[in-house]
Amino acid sequence: MSNTAAEKVRTFDTRTQAKIPVESPLAYSYRRSGAPAPTAKSRVVLRERPFLGHLVLRGGAIVLDEAVREVLGIPLPGEPQGLVHDADGQRSIQWISPDEWLVIVPGGEEFALENRLRAVLGDAHFAISNVSGGQTLVELTGEAARELLMKSVIYDVHPSHFPVGKGVTTVFAKATVILRRPTETRWELVVRRSFADYTYRWLLDAGEEYGIGVER
């Protein structure tokens, strides 16, 4: 077997460089429900950002903060609901719980990142789980995006309560979602793969009155 007996945690790169066809969590939904192209009248636009690297980071804030700064160059958001991005906005870390953070990086970086974090963290008590295949990121932009969210999530998305740099886990219709606000004009939904079709159909339906368009 490939495992060494001495290994404490077995990491595994589930991604391959080989040219293998991949299907994003929304691939089926596009075929089933269609994807109306955005028009000039679209007051909200949806776009999936598939195949990103998603890592769940567990551990104490102080220990993880040092490692994350060293490896990713950005601080770990220590305050609840915090969301930070690196300078070019490609990599983010979000507070999920007092001992849990969600790291999202460009697809393909996640395994190397996990290994570097593990190397820096050494014997500290922590855990890293790769969930890249299990969730996808859906962006919403446009002036009606906030109202669309009001139809969908129970959390208060008013700008006074949901400033840029915030992210929460909350109820979305009858499912759950991680909702984030990376910029003034953009909202992000981190959606579990198995709920992606339901979420997509809900958004298309709720967005109909705003002429929702899907960018592909």
Binding site: P80, Q81, I96, P98, E100, Y155, V168, T169, V171
Partner: protein
Amino acid sequence: MLHIYCPYCGETREEEEFHPKGQAHIARPADPEACSDEEWGDYLFFRDNPRGIHHELWVHAVGCRKFFNVTRNTVTYEILETYKMGERPTITAEHPEGRPADATAQQTSLRDGVRA
């Protein structure tokens, strides 16, 4: 629908994000094998059902996934306080306006809160 302050998220959130898990501060006996059948039966099956102040265990299931305690009035449904695991309530049936300061200094136990 209740509005519940999650002591870990530092925010008041909608009830739909939470699950109630029964009475709080039910510690599992440290040595189950030393328990009589009656003691074990008490731990498994017997719970309080007070009219008024009650301490409950809740989990922020759609949120931070942390368990915490709620002091709730079962008549008015008012939530009087929420507190983290391992902490003691300040508001109790004996001290509905809050316990005297010295009493809160009692040693706290983390062994709180699971129901069978």
